[in-house]
């Protein structure tokens, strides 16, 4: 999604956003060839310069008033700020307060067409969740029959333009921007959100030169177990692990980008730049950049620690906070917030060494879902609020300090579904709980607002826009905050893993360059890199270095064009592969009613001569000798239904969970079939390898397994069965969704071992299992 609040249509951009843009440096004032609107801004800014004071508030005359005012709700639509692939971004003014906002108008048909609904939903979800003075806020979402309109905070300028106009900054000025950026990023990471596309174009400036991070269109909530697989962002700002397509876990890629941004602010040019993508990638992967001599020692140290190729060794936001360069002149409102119980493990943080785990611990705290407790009316509780507060008196809770009744009032008001007493009880209870987290969030929020009064004139305006915003949906995602804690460890492990277990893609050493190897002169053959030769085998630029000066202008242009095409091709191909990669399940998906699916499976098993056997955990209304599901009377009595409901969990499991056996040669393959609900009306039949045993019977006698009377088979089978049912208890504890993933993974490994069920099975071959599963799938699909 294009940027929401970009103030104007295309204009020349001297900082190469991607490697094909030639100028490597940023002469000041280059951006002034743009519209008069921007010139005005630029001049205004440079006159004011730096951190000294706020520039004059821009008049409303900046934008041509439209001939006829169009209104959406309370907003009068103004000039178009930008056009994206899904719709326009327009400036709008609130008719009553005169507040300027940006409206991102998304055409519903277009997003449906491109199957983007989930992406837009995601973006909206992110923005709703984020409340920070330096993050673009979403005020409200207006839905019409044709459009989804996001009303978002308006920030008139990009940090990008600012740098273009000003050239490189003094360290003090850069520090101010950097502090704001880091604090906003830290906030995002605490809420499990990684921006993933940080670059000066996404960093907007409000009228008081405060940074507002926008464009969360590409970010992705860091979900446990799911690496961020989509490669996105501008190559120049992208971390090595991003461009080399490794699986990456999140927060550290934003740190890299911030490092690049800091470099750009301080040096006025990109740290990694090259006309040719492969070269650029090489530079990024090798971490090859030059630190100019004008930088202070502290700044150099900070840059060096941020632009570390190995994501595990890279500094974290906590580490940055401790750096000398960052701490200088840090405004009070950006001081670290007190830790919330749901976000931190006790005894953590502190030393630099622990920071990596500390940040990840924070990073995975969740925000994904809103508390959906609006089942009972909260109003009657609110009326009691004052009296109750009086009764409670002063309450001290070890991890919260003295509880402020004022905040409890607010909690009562906002947390529909919780009464006052239960909130108090939760606050007093030992250990973490969501109410405590909510309490701290509200307290942090309040504290942030209070701090505005102590701030310098300059910073006052930071808060002005913040205060003007609608109240934050602060209670969003409390449940996942809790879960986040448990996840942190696994993420850490995965992060250090760096995808090294990918087949045939061993990790490459990143801290040494090929050219550094002694007694050799390994080189990459320059002429073999992309864009060096055209289709006729004619070199674009001559590959012989001495002739480079005599290179004609046309060939240079050709090269640039070729590189452009290459980038475009890459983008296109990237998109194509993304869309073609479906979600993989091992098993069969179906939209039919579950009972029909099971019936179909039953029939198919019969056709294939496979045995149908109920799982033993089941004690429902079915008879004990394993009569199949289809034999059940379709019209169950009311009592039966009632009974079924009471024992629902167990029954559902057994109803759609059967074992099948089949024989290949002299080997009997045992396989579990289980039906899961994926979503809405989609069901997934999952296959699980239970194991094999060898039978001495005549290998051709398949009928044996249709009859359930063969004694020898069953002695073996029953003993396996009993071992298995003990494992069942473990499995049943996990949620259905979780199990689906788990068993899918099991199937994926081909049942190398049933790690989830644990401790029971030794390694067994996946091949026969896969063969049987495939037969079943093929038969089911053709039936």
């Amino acid at each position: 999604m294009p940027d929401a609040t970009r103030p104007a249509p295309p204009r020349p951009r001297p900082i190469p956003v991607h490697p094909t843009r030639p100028p490597p440096s940023l002469p000041a004032g280059q951006g002034q060839g743009s519209s008069s609107h921007h010139e005005q801004q630029g001049q205004g800014r440079s006159a004011n310069g730096g951190t000294s004071g706020p520039p004059p508030r821009r008049g409303s005359g900046d934008h041509r008033p439209p001939a006829k005012t169009i209104r959406i709700g309370q907003y009068e639509l103004g000039a178009t700020l930008g056009v994206g692939s899904f719709g326009k971004v327009k400036l709008a003014t609130h008719s009553m307060t005169g507040h300027k906002v940006a409206m991102k108008i998304i055409n519903r048909r277009k997003i449906q067409h491109m199957d983007m609904t989930s992406r837009v939903k995601r973006e909206i979800q992110y923005l709703k969740v984020l409340r920070h003075p330096h993050i673009i806020k979403l005020y409200e979402v207006i839905t019409t029959s044709t459009d989804i309109i996001m009303v978002i905070e308006y920030a008139g300028q990009e940090l990008f333009e600012y740098i273009v106009n000003k050239g490189r900054m003094e360290e003090g000025e850069a520090r101010r921007f950097f502090q704001q950026i880091i604090c906003a990023i830290e906030y995002c990471h605490r809420h499990k959100i990684v921006h993933r596309d940080l670059k000066p174009e996404n960093l907007l400036l409000d009228d008081y030169l405060n940074v507002k991070i926008g464009d969360f269109g590409l970010s992705n909530i860091m979900t446990d177990g799911d690496f961020l697989k989509t490669s996105c962002g501008s190559p120049n700002y992208a971390a090595p692990e991003v461009i080399s397509g490794k699986l990456y876990a999140g927060p550290e890629i934003d740190i890299w980008s911030c490092g690049v941004i800091l470099y750009v602010m301080l040096c006025g040019r990109l740290p990694f730049d090259d006309e040719y993508i492969p070269k650029l990638f090489q530079k990024i992967n090798g971490g090859i950049y030059h630190l100019p001599s004008h930088l202070s020692e502290d700044a150099r140290a900070l840059l060096k620690s941020m632009l570390v190729v190995d994501p595990v060794k890279r500094i974290t936001t906590a580490g940055i906070r401790q750096s000398a360069w960052f701490q200088r002149d840090l405004p009070q409102y950006l001081q670290p917030l007190p830790q919330t119980p749901g976000l931190e493990r006790p005894g953590q943080g502190g030393g630099q060494g622990e920071d990596a785990s500390g940040l990840l611990g924070q990073g995975v705290s969740g925000v994904a879902s809103t508390v959906d407790g609006a089942t009972s009316a909260p109003d009657d509780q609110v009326s009691k609020a004052d009296a109750d507060t009086q009764n409670q008196g002063l309450v001290y809770v070890p991890d919260l300090g003295v509880v402020e009744p004022r905040i409890v009032d607010e909690l009562c008001e906002k947390m529909a579904g919780f009464d006052r007493n239960s909130i108090w009880e939760a606050l007093k209870r030992e250990g973490d709980n969501q109410i405590k987290v909510a309490y701290q969030l509200v307290r942090d929020h309040k504290r942030m607002l209070q701090d505005t009064t102590d701030m310098r004139h300059d910073n006052e305006h930071v808060m002005e826009s913040f205060l003007a915003s609608s109240p934050p949906p602060w209670n969003a995602g409390l449940e996942s905050l809790q879960q986040g804690v448990n996840r942190s460890t696994s993420i850490k492990n995965r992060a250090t893993n760096k995808g090294s277990n990918e087949d045939e893609s061993w990790d490459e050493e990143e801290d040494m360059e090929m050219e550094d190897i002694p007694d050799s002169n390994f080189q990459i053959l320059d002429s073999s890199l992309h864009g060096k030769f055209d289709e006729n085998g004619e070199p674009f630029p001559p590959y012989d270095v001495p002739h480079l000066q005599s290179q004609s202008l046309t060939s240079q242009e050709d090269a640039v064009r070729a590189a452009h095409q290459a980038v475009a091709a890459q983008r296109i191909s990237g998109r194509a592969t993304k869309s073609s990669k479906g979600k993989w399940h091992f098993g069969i998906r179906s939209r039919s009613p579950p009972i029909e699916v099971m019936h179909e499976i039953y029939n198919t098993l019969q056709v294939l001569g496979m045995q149908w056997k109920r799982k033993q955990c089941f004690d429902g209304p079915w008879d004990q000798d394993g009569r199949p599901i289809r034999e059940t009377p379709p019209g169950m009595t009311r009592e039966q239904r009632q009974k079924e409901k009471t024992n629902e969990e167990k029954q559902n499991q057994s109803l759609f969970f059967v074992e099948t056996r089949c024989k290949i040669d002299n080997v009997v393959i045992r396989m579990d079939l289980q039906l899961y609900r994926v979503d809405g009306s989609n069901y997934l039949v999952d296959f699980r390898n239970v194991g094999y045993y060898r039978s001495n019977n005549d290998p051709d006698d398949y009928s044996l397994y249709r009859r359930s009377s063969n004694a020898t088979d069953y002695t073996v089978a029953e003993s396996l069965e009993s071992r298995r049912s003990s494992a069942e208890g473990i499995g049943a504890a996990t949620s259905p969704v979780r199990r689906e993933i788990n068993s899918n993974m099991n199937a994926g490994v081909g049942g190398v071992s049933e790690t989830i069920e644990g401790k029971i099975k030794e390694v067994c071959s996946p091949f026969l299992f896969l063969e049987v599963a495939c037969r079943l799938i093929v038969e089911l699909a053709s039936a």
């Binding site: 993508i277 990638f281 073999s528 289709e535 890459q570 071959s765 091949f767």
Partner: protein, 430 residues
């Protein structure tokens, strides 16, 4: 479908050399303080080599693999086109085949099979027919084709995962597939199981990471005669003999023909002055065919190279005086398959600087991982050829002379022969 278990980069290897040096390696130490500990004797090239071999005998093939990895196995009933798509989707260039009727391993499907297929169709049919045929052509039939054009059948060599790595390395050099499947028998079913595929790069990387001795391999590639070097003679009109080369204007098909006929996997692309400008490899054929049509084979090399992925990392070159140690250092660092040796333009005795500069960038030789592996293992092992007329490896191993026929039954005999052979020489305990 990858499965993941937490593991650190270093731990993906069978054992963690830096922290737990095995007792049989006196030189390997926990620290990197090579220069500060004067007592440590610097090994000669030969000593280092011997220690590496000892190490390889102490490890099994299984140790090379990480805790968790992905394996793509194809059913040999699969249609070639689908098989190719699957391989492309999963980013692999070869896959073991599986015979689901007999529940056993059915050979490797590699780029060379594809190249043979192209070769066959070129000689027997039109592109249109070929394309139509390929839609229905099954992997298991490739063997018939390969018999028809008299090239070795899909390599059937394999090794048990728990056999010493040294043994696997020997087989790895001998098989023309440049990769060796690890095959075990499953206890529960009594059937074969394909565990993974050992590649040359994997083994060499394992050595590079785990054997500190590799830094003592200080002799130059040239002096060790590792690789193939230009040695023009009046009998051959190829100025780079025995290296096959092509120009930017050569048709892809002609290069594919070289691959097939000579049993090679890469052809340097040179300009009129003999300077190397690129390298066309067998894997590039896959990229080309990904685009769908076999007409792509009529393209020139220049056109074909332009279709390489944009993020192609480039062809690696080295100078003639590079040491073996430096190659291992490079292997530690990045994934390589071959190196083009080019003239570094350093003036020789009595040569003017101008003349020397003229030579710079010219093709001198080609080094493949097989060459490196063969040197490490010992040069007494024949490299398995893949070309027309080459003696099929398995016939070679079984001591037979019949060409092109290596029935499956012979495989066991061949393996047994190798084992006997090795045991007789006392290379590993039986």
């Amino acid at each position: 479908m990858p499965a993941r278990r937490p593991s650190h980069t270093m731990q993906t290897f069978g054992f963690n050399h830096p922290t737990a040096p095995p007792s049989h390696l006196p030189v390997a130490s926990t620290s990197t303080s090579e220069s500060t500990t004067p007592k440590r004797k610097k090994l000669t090239h030969a000593e280092a080599l011997e220690q590496i071999r000892t190490f390889l005998r102490s490890q099994s093939s299984y140790d090379v693999f990480p805790v968790s990895f992905r394996l793509i196995v194809l059913d040999h009933h699969l249609v070639v086109k689908k098989a190719l798509n699957t391989m492309l989707q999963n980013g692999v260039v070869s896959a073991p085949l599986w015979d689901s009727e007999k529940s056993q391993f059915a050979g490797m499907f590699t780029v060379s099979d594809l190249i043979h297929l192209i070769q066959y169709y070129y000689h027997t049919t039109t592109y249109e027919d070929a394309a139509a045929d390929v839609d229905h052509f099954r992997l298991q039939s490739i063997r018939d084709i390969e018999k028809a054009i008299r090239v070795p059948p899909p390599p059937l060599l394999s090794v048990h995962p728990m056999r010493p790595l040294f043994e696997a390395c020997k087989l790895l050099i001998q098989t023309h597939a440049r990769r060796l499947p690890l095959i075990d028998t499953d206890d529960q079913t009594g059937k074969e199981v394909v565990l993974s595929v050992l590649t040359q790069y994997r083994v060499l990387k394992f050595m590079a990471v785990n054997c500190r001795e590799t830094i003592h391999l200080d002799q130059t590639l040239r002096s060790l005669n590792i690789g193939t070097y230009c040695n023009p003679s009046p009998e051959h009109d190829n100025p780079y003999y025995p290296i096959a080369t092509a120009t930017m204007q050569t048709a892809v098909f002609d290069v594919v023909h070289m691959f097939s006929e000579l049993g090679i996997s890469a052809v340097p692309i040179v300009d009129a002055n003999g300077k190397v400008i690129n390298l066309y490899e067998t894997v590039d054929v896959i990229t080309l065919l990904k685009l769908g049509t076999y007409q792509a084979l009529d393209l020139t090399i220049a056109q074909a190279l332009a279709r390489r992925p944009v993020d192609f990392e480039g062809v690696l070159t080295c100078g003639p005086e590079s040491s073996l140690a430096s190659v291992f250092a490079l292997i530690r660092m990045r994934r390589i398959h071959r190196l083009v040796v080019i003239d570094d333009g350093r003036p020789k005795e009595g040569e003017s600087e101008q003349d020397a500069k003229q030579r710079k960038g010219r093709l001198l030789g080609l080094i493949s991982l097989s060459d490196v592996l063969r040197h490490v293992i010992g040069s007494d092992v024949e490299i398995g050829g893949g070309g027309v007329g080459a003696v099929p490896v398995e016939t070679l191993l079984a001591g037979g002379t019949a060409q092109g026929k290596a029935p499956r039954a012979d495989r066991a005999a061949a393996q047994a022969a190798i084992r006997r052979d090795a045991e007789l020489r006392g290379e590993f305990p039986s």
